[in-house]
Symmetry: D2
Subunit: 480 residues, 4 copies
């Protein structure tokens, strides 16, 4: 397994194809430092003895110990462990751990390349398994670029005014394919080593050119990442772990990018394209049953602590709000556990979680995220929102005033009062906040996507038939 | 295992101590027939081959095959099976299967009598295990009488104006104890063979007389059951399975009832009284993770079927409401699964479900029950509420009008249209409905009780400490 | 103005065309006594001096003092008074006052007959004004029969398999029209003197036969009322005002009913048929801003009183639930006030309330009704649901037990404790409850109907244009 | 009336007492330009002929035409106009118009100084009326500094470890009082000309020193404003009206500030201190019935426009979400209208709005604000959250990619697509967003404060008594 230092070193060698605010950057630019710290934490964690077996596991391909983010799930236990690892590591970095992208994409490919080969006599799975060995051996950080920019939402890919509005094959050559299009909302992509591209939706038979999946180095020729930063505000004086972390997401442009055959994992099988899109989504929703409770843990921790600092921890309505946060976190967790233990082995040998539970769990999380921050806002009071700028707390002209007037519980030092409200202010009023809210709402599929998933996968007929039975309507009555 | 016929025969031999609407009845009174049908279904189900291993299991006491309602959980698998059986059997009877009372009370006694003996050197577990043999061998139907009438809710048991407002020991004799008080909301009691009495709350050391648990035949001398009926309306013409079922709940009065020592399972150990109350509640909330999804299944089946009959099944807002019902049912189920697989073996060998998950699951169910019927009301439209009386559908003067004007989807026969709306009307406008809503809201503990349970059992300190870490507040700072 | 006694006497002279549970009844049947008591209260109230100017007003047609239920609104003050009267009278009868049907239908006719005459040169308004004089002079109780049975909801009236599934003209004769069809959910119809029939929806030009409006005696030849009763349970011993009231709703069948021209108020003008349907709905939603707060008042009164009886009135979560009930009641009221004071004078001289406010107010009421009873259920606890039958409280064998064990606050007598829980039980577990819930949810249009109304009447364009302005998108840009 | 230019000129003459991010600034600092633009808009609006009578009115003190923000309400019409003006002006500036602070504080003082004089024989009203003349004549912009920093929330002012945690009189001199303490969340204060200080809560008789109200120039000796900026991000290229506006809020420190008697409006009358706090809150909640609908208008405009741009405007679930936004905006508006028309004339002659309606309306607004942005987030999709930085849209290397791949509806130009998403991104992911959410939730009192207000002012007794009547419980029964 790699160290964080090695990961950073490898990043620094990559081609400058990161665009931020009008500049083209290499990956050692300080603006990327906070987001990179998040991924670095996944390497650090794997080396800590207490995480053995949780953040690490043995590869079923090579037998070697690998970082679990590179693992293919071979049991329901693996699914449970991925969920538990995700909750634990998100704690560490105060939010999204980001690297689930790779594990969710590779697992989906493992299932669907196998089924595609069975159906179409292709060799995608063999290619994929070979690539997977490289992925595991080199402890690769991968982005999954799934969401197309989609153009007119009321039209299908092949109906768009510009066919590039969904990523597609523009040329098939003897040694590979040429790709054009763009993928949006690519968390982790600016500091990933590889990008795994998957289709974003079900496809019709006219849409062979859009039924494409592959892996590609993130700095390959023709790839341009136009990046939105959203990190926790950097502190000048009041250092704290939370301020070390951040996020960056790219619009990843594929401008005639060549992909050699050994990295192509689907190419024209439209039915399997839709299934691949879906399978990734379900693995990713399973990841959310780990990460979203972790974020709720932090919101609940801030809420409970600020209630104590404010001297209102015993108020019944505040207690009830904490109980609501606990309920959301643990129901989402329960959904992930149920999805894991009722997970199924596929023909490929890879395990998939139960789709109903992952959808119901991810939806509950998405439906609550705004409300969770509303609870924190409610209990914290307005001080986090009007908290004077950090520098004023260290300016001799204003310092004493701020320390005097921020006092709540007299047992707590002014610095600690400041620290807590600074953290809440950073979490709730920064640029990071709005991006994070958007991500937690839409990432992995917004609630409406889970509703669609539930309606697609749930069989209502037995329920209707049972009502017919109870009502005395014969099941075989053509008039019933 | 007993047959339903044997069960009915045994009931008919019991002493007349059932009071309904001013009369004193034996258990063969037709007014009790519908509720008894529900319990009879638990005997029938155990004899069906497809239910072997689900509704039956092998006794860990005698090794014999027993009805699972008499089982003590010896594995997480047992917990999962109880949940699954409950969902299946509630389907059969269109609602609460009622017999969970016995299994939840006996399992709680199994855990707490053991711990009490360990702590106090008593012999409750030995007595209990002997009684359990009788219980399993005779396939006994038991009520659990837990909820005291409670008098002034702002006062403790020993502070009440009338000490009998919580069931208590009024005399200790050489051969047993004498009991006075009343338990409320005793579902199944009027057609149970035994009543298991447990404390209802935590007790202080002054409250030894209220720290009492025992089992007693339901027609023992001094027991008066004052019973509220709430059955599905009986049909005159339009027979249907749903109309066969019902519910009855008693206020069970203990007027100086003698209980011999071999049936006394707790007697004065106040700390264990509180734990016993709680342990029953948690088992019972686990049962709700089986029964409440089953009730939602029926509500969702009616909603989906009436949408089809009304010709509006494809409307997006109706689809989304169905998806909400599915989400509630499956999140509650997931909570039960997670509670089961993370269940723990106690010192007694009996397994208990995880309290956080059962509380969060039961609460979600309780918070949604009114809303679930609101959805059915919404989708059905008003016809279930103003549906003319059954007799008018069979009166030659009005029959043709009703059949003509009830028509919706022309493919469906008038009788089937009538059957569906009659069922919805029976489920939503009868006396049964209001009682059922009350039961589904409060039974096993209303949502506020689960909130209290969650706040009691969940450890917020690690969440607060983690926030301190992220904010840079030292954990050992006396001013933090 | 009429007395209640005169009203009853007139009812008793009507032809027996009421079908209930297989029998054909006259209006003096005891089963109709409770519902008739409700309407009788509107006559009593008009004679009470304190209600002068509120329940009475001066007719703008004749100048005579009339019951406000017969009034045409000639000012915003009239709209405010109708709302206030409705809230007050619903209090009296513990629920829906029912007679708003007539006032809402006549006002809608007053507006639309006028506009139709202007547009089509017809004489509907003259006919209507003549009929109105009779209506006011004789203090007539009218039902408004609007909701058609509607058949397949996905099809329009003229597309139904059976054209009678919407009420229509089957023959036009020299002296009038012949009508066939049925109207559903006709509250008050069984004890109304006249039925006012209006279209239920927008109509296309093919649907002239369905564009019909008229008034007809409720016992006219060819009218068959098939009636669903839903009254508060009748008491044997524990008399109380609430037990005197009830509700009955008919499916009103028109089997070739002849209507003479002077009672026909619309006949074939399809565009005006849709407007008439809508105008009635908006008046009726305005009535709901009076009645729904009144029902919430009673729910809130029960909740506050039972909290006091249970000794939990000070608990913060209960206080907050009361505050929620208050909020719903007063926001709905505010919507009615705003709708009244921003009401507009139409060409006819009649005032109409603002449609946005009545729709938003009625929707809020509808969205909350299940939740309001959920709050009462929550605060009352389960005793209302398992309350033993009334007779047991007067049976010497059980009376003492019930009185002893129902005790809560020791200051309150057992009879009063019983009285309160009996009322809650009657309101929450009776047949009446389910019908009432359905009525309060769907009556006047279920929440989805108000959503449709809001989307139809609200102009979003200025809001979108203003956003364009703020964003710097030129309003006249063809590419914006 | 003043022009915006005059206002700016006056500001620039003020003493530098604004602290931002470690610097001490005068009011012409560019960082204050955006917030000042908001207030400038209130001067511009008053001079536009279309706003005559809405943004202007005639002073009841001097008879001169004044800006309505300086008006004392002398009729229910005035209350309605203040609400309507607030909605209109917030539109202009894309959010909070801020200047309501002054009008709400002066009206509250007008009522309470009068009542205090009546009760205590003081002369506060005379002083106040004199000061008011200056306020109106000079078209003064005032902040109302109400919210104390409050220290330990579980303790009263006089119980705090540091008595300065609530603003108080530290010395009474012959010519005035000396003040110490700090007020938080002072919107508009950094560019207000005067600060009006009011108590923040009910006070006990020990708390005379905290029962103080006065007006003071915002740059008076001893006043230090420590300011948090929260403006819409400044654009480099893509100019738009929305980017011109912003907000700044101060912690206003009073470090031994001298206030001469003619500016002291309450001094030690503790009972009136509580009433004054409350009266300001109720006027301010009335202002929210104007501003919050205006903010919802903008959210709804963005939602409707982005739905159109995305090509999903017709989807039913999106339509229903728009209808929800409309409902919230118009119910809050209705609450303000009802509060205005049922407003009462006080002894002073000043009109106050109905407290129940303002509380219920403001609460509904507060309870929905997070959810409103959730709807916008839902309908917009994730692009606003990951939108690349503005500069990248003008960088030749990336411009073409961004314009190509942002395309949705092909009719809309790339620039306009960018403009809309830039506005949503500015509104939803900037520093401004979090501060705004906090302000809209807590400002004027968070929902829990309105709940407390409702519970304080609403009389539940008549509701309980009416239930007693319906249940047959005598009103005068000592046991009832």
């Amino acid at each position: 397994m790699k160290t964080a230092a090695q990961y950073r070193k490898e990043l620094n060698k990559m081609r400058a194809n990161i665009h931020i605010a009008g500049e083209k950057l290499t990956r050692d630019d300080p603006r990327l430092a906070q987001p990179i710290n998040v991924v670095a934490a996944t390497f650090d964690a794997a080396l800590e003895p207490e995480n053995k077996g949780l953040v690490t596991t043995l590869s079923k391909v090579t037998g070697a110990e690998i970082n679990r983010f590179c693992n293919i799930h071979c049991s329901t236990e693996d699914l449970l462990n991925k969920q538990a690892m995700t909750r634990k590591l998100c704690h560490k970095v105060g939010g999204c751990i980001q690297r689930c992208m790779g594990i969710d994409a590779t697992n989906a490919l493992s299932v669907i390349t196998y089924d595609t080969d069975q159906k179409y006599g292709t060799e995608y799975n063999k290619r994929f398994m070979k690539w997977l060995e490289h992925f595991q051996k080199n402890d690769i950080v991968a982005n999954c670029a799934q969401t197309d920019v989609k153009g007119d939402r009321s039209k299908r890919p092949h109906e768009q005014a510009d066919p590039d509005l969904y990523v597609r094959v523009v040329e098939r050559k003897s040694d590979g394919v040429v790709i054009r299009g763009a993928k949006a909302h690519n968390t982790i992509a600016p500091y990933a080593q590889e990008i795994i591209v998957l289709p974003t939706r079900a496809l019709t038979t006219e849409e062979k050119d859009w039924a494409i999946a592959f892996a590609i180095p993130a700095d390959a020729e023709g790839i341009h990442q136009i990046v939105r930063l959203a990190s926790i505000p950097i502190r000048k004086h009041l250092q704290a772990p939370i301020a070390a972390f951040g996020d960056a997401e790219s619009l990843t442009v594929f401008d005639n990018v060549f992909v050699p055959w050994d990295r192509v994992f689907l190419n024209g099988e439209t039915d399997m394209g839709g299934r691949l899109a879906l399978q990734f989504a379900e693995y990713h929703r399973h990841s959310y049953t780990g990460c979203k409770p972790s974020i709720t843990d932090i919101v609940m921790g801030m809420t409970a602590l600020v209630a104590e600092y404010n001297g209102v921890a015993k108020a019944q309505h505040i207690q009830h709000k904490l109980a609501h946060l606990i309920g959301v976190a643990e129901l989402v967790t329960a959904a992930g556990i149920a999805a894991s233990v009722t997970g199924k082995k596929t023909a490929s040998g890879t395990y998939i979680p139960n789709s109903i539970y992952v959808n119901a769990g991810r939806r509950l999380a998405g439906e609550n995220i705004f409300h969770e921050y509303e609870i924190l806002c409610d209990v914290a009071g307005g001080w986090y929102a009007t908290l004077p700028h950090e520098e004023d707390w260290f300016n001799p002209e204003t310092k004493a005033y701020l320390e005097k007037y921020t006092m709540r519980n007299p047992r707590i030092s002014p610095e600690n009062q400041h620290r807590l409200f600074r953290m809440i202010s950073d979490m709730m009023t920064s640029h990071w906040f709005g991006v994070e809210l958007g991500g937690q709402y839409h990432g992995g599929g917004s609630p409406i996507m889970e509703t669609i998933g539930i309606l697609r996968d749930y069989d209502l007929k037995p329920k209707m038939d049972h009502v017919k039975y109870l009502a005395g309507i014969p099941l075989d009555d053509p008039h019933g």
